[in-house]
Symmetry: C2
């Protein structure tokens, strides 16, 4: 086994042990660590669907969006217009789109988003916290995966759900999570020259 | 090639031809036939996320739910409470859950739902129509797949999006659709004895 493999195995075992410790203290009702990943559609939209359920149940929600993109404008406008009290909505990447070519600035934005996310998760009043597209920041190593996983396993309040979205979720996060869904693309209209559609894509 | 294979190929070619005819008349902007399938989570929730986008854009929405289940109570209550004007919400299976052992009644409910769905889709005022869990009715042959596919390809107004959800989507529907997403289950908390959670599952 190479050193790298050994380190990987050790790390995964450590995450599993932390997860087992956390599970040992649980009753059957608990807040979940959830991941929506894969190249298909619906990773963020299904999170917004869950937000509707939470609002319906009177569970306060917080969202930190790690990338600003047109694709989420509809949901953001919707929540800000109709549910400013029920949902705290933050865009850590406001004003940039990962296309700035300014890595230092991107890292600073991602770190600011993560600091805010930790604050929101630590407050047990927030029952559902969505970290939208954080997997992109993790994949680019703008955030440290160990810091994120350790925080979720050690500091997340028992009854808080946290949803992390974005393609290419890191294996450490999948190991730590309770519920992981992969969205795969079977067929996409862009292949046929159809452009992005209002209501579907944004 | 067996007779059955030959029939299948002929049928698929017919669907493809109908789809090509429809596409030939399109500009690059069009209403889409969309399918969310697979055993994973998020098939319905991401549809409800799209509904939020549509409301935000002022696009009228209609939903026909082909199975009544607790899992969707949150979304249904949410839409009925907050957006009774923006979203027409119908439950064709109200009062039954596919567990009635009464196949005739289930078929009658599914057919009533499909009649209503056609009426809603034919009205071009409805810009997004969600047929929630219709794939279950199709898979059980409570509805005829050819009728459904023919209707969508021939009668759906140009700018209307239709979303069909549920696991085990039939191949004819996938052939007819513009956008197909498969949700796969990577990890699920029920395996660890955690029960369904408010805000996540219902």
């Amino acid at each position: 086994m190479t050193d790298e493999n050994a380190r990987h195995t050790e790390k995964m075992n450590k995450i599993k042990a932390a997860r087992d410790r956390m599970m040992a203290n649980k009753t059957e009702e608990k807040g979940l660590i959830m991941v929506h990943t894969g190249p298909g559609k619906g990773k963020s939209s299904s999170g917004f669907g869950m937000i509707m359920r939470c609002i319906s149940h009177g569970m306060p929600v917080a969202v930190v969006q790690f990338i600003k993109g047109n694709w989420a404008t509809g949901e953001r406008d919707f929540l800000r217009t109709h549910f400013p009290d029920e949902v705290k909505f933050h865009v850590s990447g406001e004003g940039f789109t990962w296309e700035t070519q300014d890595r230092e600035r991107d890292i600073a934005k991602a770190e600011a988003g993560w600091e805010l996310a930790k604050e929101l998760i630590r407050d047990p009043a927030n029952r559902f916290v969505m970290l939208d597209e954080i997997n992109i920041a993790l994949r680019n190593d703008y955030l440290n995966i160990d810091d994120v996983v350790d925080f979720l396993l050690e500091e997340k309040p028992d009854m808080t759900h946290v949803l992390l979205t974005g393609r290419n979720a890191k294996p450490e996060l999948i190991e730590a999570a309770d519920l992981v869904t992969e969205m795969s693309l079977v067929k996409h209209p862009f292949r046929d020259g159809i452009k992005a559609q209002q209501g579907v894509e944004f």
